[in-house]
Symmetry: C2
């Protein structure tokens, strides 16, 4: 009877922490989409909104940390329950960093409004951002439903994001060589593309954490890595 | 008597976890220095060593996670003790990411050997990497000695790293505009500079965690941010 009581108190705590993670996840998804849109439409006000909303994301992480510590201290969960709480802390940490990247992405809107337009990259960046946002949505679903298979699918998608990034890197080199007046704009666009690629990496880490949460084991094969720009040296 | 026993068991656990963190920190420091040297001397073998050593860093993080979970489950620490264990987990997470950046930095050595040399950036990159390595050394000292003042000094140093990065960003733009044959090399060098700047950010996060560990509060003023390249738009 007393055991039952302790168990359900832990469950209630966990449910409330999970709700905060989902809320945080929703804000981060919005930050990615709004950040990408602010870049594409050169919407400085929307970019400012993304920056302001990042504070709410940071505060949610602190609250999740506090509630998780409180849950551990009060309920003293062990084995699988403890793993769940600690993994949730890691997921919140990753979400906070993805939010930071989205904020940094939005910040560049202020620069892009003063740059010469380069057709092409805008659409590619939006596609990349949407891809990452979709991955994040799936990984949050996988987390809440304890669905390791869905998390595995998210991991595989990271390859697509990396491919998109590699294609853009080559595209930027070409634009810069064609016309030196494109150089500054391309440096900023490259920065943004790399930001989105890093968000994809973090979502992939989250997927691995979800797999660990469900199965008790991290995926054995190290994640397929496809940022091959470190091998691009022959363009010039 | 029984209380005393529980307390010292926790202390022993914590000491052993802290020893693992310091070991991990030592490996990450070496990775930063070796990574920077492999770039500067175009030493492909040393770069390969950095990549291989990253596995040891990753394994140490997993071990720290396991021992921390074990400590929480067995000793059920509360308040300050629990905070210490949870913060240690975060520090290990940051170290793992800094190690990843060092590995990515070393990986670019393979590209740079095939690039035309651009005098100047090599020395600047080495200086930046040394600065970050020094900050990391200090933050590990601050952690083990619970020295919030030293951690605060580390935070202030991040400004210097950001300034170095900003100067390099401008330097790259100039080189690329002077001669389009510099473009590919500069894109890679910019990538490396940004990597080192991010390591500095992570060390700064670690400093904030140490302050939290010692004082129970995160520094109130959000960290001085000085990556001002998002405002550089007038070079062309």
């Amino acid at each position: 009877m007393s055991d039952q009581h302790i168990l359900s108190a832990y469950d209630r705590d966990l449910e409330s922490i999970q709700a905060l993670v989902m809320k945080m996840g929703g804000l981060v998804e919005a930050a990615i989409l709004d950040g990408a849109q602010s870049l594409e439409t050169r919407d400085v006000e929307l970019a400012e909104k993304v920056r302001a909303n990042d504070k709410a994301i940071d505060e949610l992480e602190l609250r999740i940390n506090e509630e998780a510590a409180r849950c551990i201290a009060l309920r003293a969960p062990v084995s699988k329950d403890l793993r769940t709480v600690l993994t949730t802390l890691k997921l919140a940490g990753s979400l906070e960093r993805i939010g930071d990247y989205a904020k940094n992405m939005a910040k560049r809107t202020n620069v892009l409004v003063e740059m010469r337009e380069i057709p092409g990259p805008d659409a590619s960046l939006r596609r990349m951002a949407r891809e990452v946002e979709g991955m994040l949505r799936d990984v949050l679903d996988a987390y809440i439903q304890r669905d390791a298979k869905l998390a595995e699918q998210v991991r595989e998608h990271d390859h697509d994001v990396d491919q998109m990034y590699n294609a853009m890197f080559r595209e930027f080199l070409t634009f810069m060589m064609e016309d030196p007046r494109n150089i500054t704009a391309c440096m900023h666009l490259h920065f943004i593309a790399k930001n989105i690629e890093r968000m994809g990496d973090l979502v992939t880490n989250m997927a691995e954490q979800v797999i660990y949460l469900v199965t008790g084991e991290l995926p054995e094969d190290s994640r397929p890595k496809a940022d091959s720009t470190s091998y691009i040296s022959k363009v010039d």
